[in-house]
Amino acid sequence: MIPVNFSALTPAGTDAFFALIQSDENVIGTTSPAEVISFVVAVIFAYIIGVAAAFYLKRRFSHKMKKDQLDFWIKAVRVLLVIAAISVTIPAFFDASLTIIAGIVIGLVAVFALAGQKIITNFLCGIAIRYEHPFTSGDYITAGETSGTVVSITPFATIVRTTNGVSVHIPNEKVYAGDVSNFYLNVARRYDYELGIRYRDDIGQAIRIITGMLDSYQFVLKYPAPEAFVSDLADSSVKIKVRVWFPSAWAHTQDDVSLRTHILPEIKRALEAAGIAIPFPQRVVWFGNETQKNRPDDR
């Protein structure tokens, strides 16, 4: 059996409760019981209104705003409601004795001290990230060794979802103090590819085929136009570098790996269709006892 004290619900308990409210005896400094109860009721009321407001905002704006932005506004509304409730009822507490106020302040300082410097640093870094906006939710970033889409920025950590579906909580301090690459901040992004063709292949024809193929690809930007040029005369091949610009928003949804799987196979197919081959690495070794005439060329 669970012991239950029903005395508060009995007429005698109710009478005692109302007597306590109406009494002139102060409970905190010069604050009366009625003022304490009105404070508690106001905070509870603000909390309930906040829950209702959050439900309404989610229903109304969840398809129009990013999740973290909506969460931010919901939190802001709820905090404002609670602050409003407190500010309406708190003046009664201003007469509390200096000893009590000092006690509360010392208690808060102790809590912060116990919580540790890391938490405070993470919190401050979270504010700095929100202020400077190096990224927002939905951006694809690399922070330290983690790459993924930013899900949310909480007061203490940045939550990133990697491409294999793992959520990583990175403390805001690490994000703010470390190097962060945002692949989504600028509207366009360039990818570089390099491939080799045989020495006997026509370089001009290869470049024409590559740029023509890239130009017909709808997500390759018209301007800046794709570039292809000889970047190196290497041991086994003539190296051609290809520079392609894409809308970041598209490259973001189709990560770098899938870009390569689309573009490079297409380039290979187009070159091979024109009789241009991508050679294997090779090395020709001549022995000292071979005569000059056995060599296929004059080298």
Partner: protein, 235 residues
């Protein structure tokens, strides 16, 4: 194909087929266009189906909100103005209207899509790119593939300016259809780097039907009148 349908829909040509199939169960909207198919079941007491051209910034993905039209450079002396006719790509929207709600059922396009960067990667914007011929009279276009833009360019700068492109914001784009899809716009050139483009809210010719617009911002009169400020050059 463009219009409002209460009953059957059946349109087929070489490139596109749109029809409403009546099955024993729910009616079904079926579309095929350039090898791509779309199929949706509709409620039995369905409302009105509307098919009309929409702002060409949605397909294959909504990566751009601006339309950039490139054309042969034209040199405009200070104070000069020139009326031109250009082509622009269109996308076709199929809407289901029920009461006050208009729901996008399908979007498709017969025109090729190409994107471009207007400005720099950090401050510029991605545009839907289209190359147009330069005409002094409405050009012949394929009705379901391209529309006609009547563009008046004014050079308000104190120097001769070469103009070879115009960028329009989809938020303030107003399309109309009749025999062809059309819109009318203005471009005021302030310098070789800066110009403002606007699309007029009135149809280019009388008797044209106004299209349902996808972007709600254009309902705000201030946004409508503002147009788009081209800050990265007009050539």
């Amino acid at each position: 194909m463009f219009g409002r349908y209460e009953g059957d829909i059946s349109y087929t040509d070489d490139a596109v087929s749109v029809r409403l199939e009546k099955t024993s169960e729910l009616p079904r909207y079926v579309r095929s266009c350039r090898g791509e198919n779309a199929e949706k079941a509709l409620p039995s007491g369905r409302g009105l189906i509307i098919i009309n051209p929409v702002e060409p910034v949605n397909l294959p993905l909504p990566l751009a909100r601006h339309l950039e039209i490139a054309f042969l450079p034209i040199s405009l002396p200070p104070g000069a103005h020139q009326k031109l006719f250009l082509s622009f790509p269109i996308e076709i929207g199929v809407f289901l209207e029920a009461g006050r709600d208009v729901h996008v059922l399908d979007l498709f396009s017969l025109s090729e899509t190409k994107f471009s960067l207007y400005g720099s990667p950090d401050a510029g914007l991605i545009t839907r790119w289209h190359t147009s011929g330069l005409h002094t009279a409405p050009p012949a276009v394929s009705r379901y593939q391209e529309g006609i833009l009547e563009l008046t360019i004014r050079n308000s700068s104190p120097e001769t300016v070469d103009v070879s492109r115009a960028v329009f914001d989809s938020d303030s784009m107003h399309l109309f259809y009749g025999d062809f899809v059309e819109m009318a716009g203005d471009m005021e050139v302030y310098s070789p780097m800066i110009a403002r483009t606007r699309v007029r809210t009135l149809p280019p010719r009388a008797g044209m039907e106004r299209c349902i617009e996808l972007y709600t911002a254009k309902k705000i009169p201030v946004v409508q009148g503002k147009g788009f400020l081209m800050e990265f050059g007009v050539a």
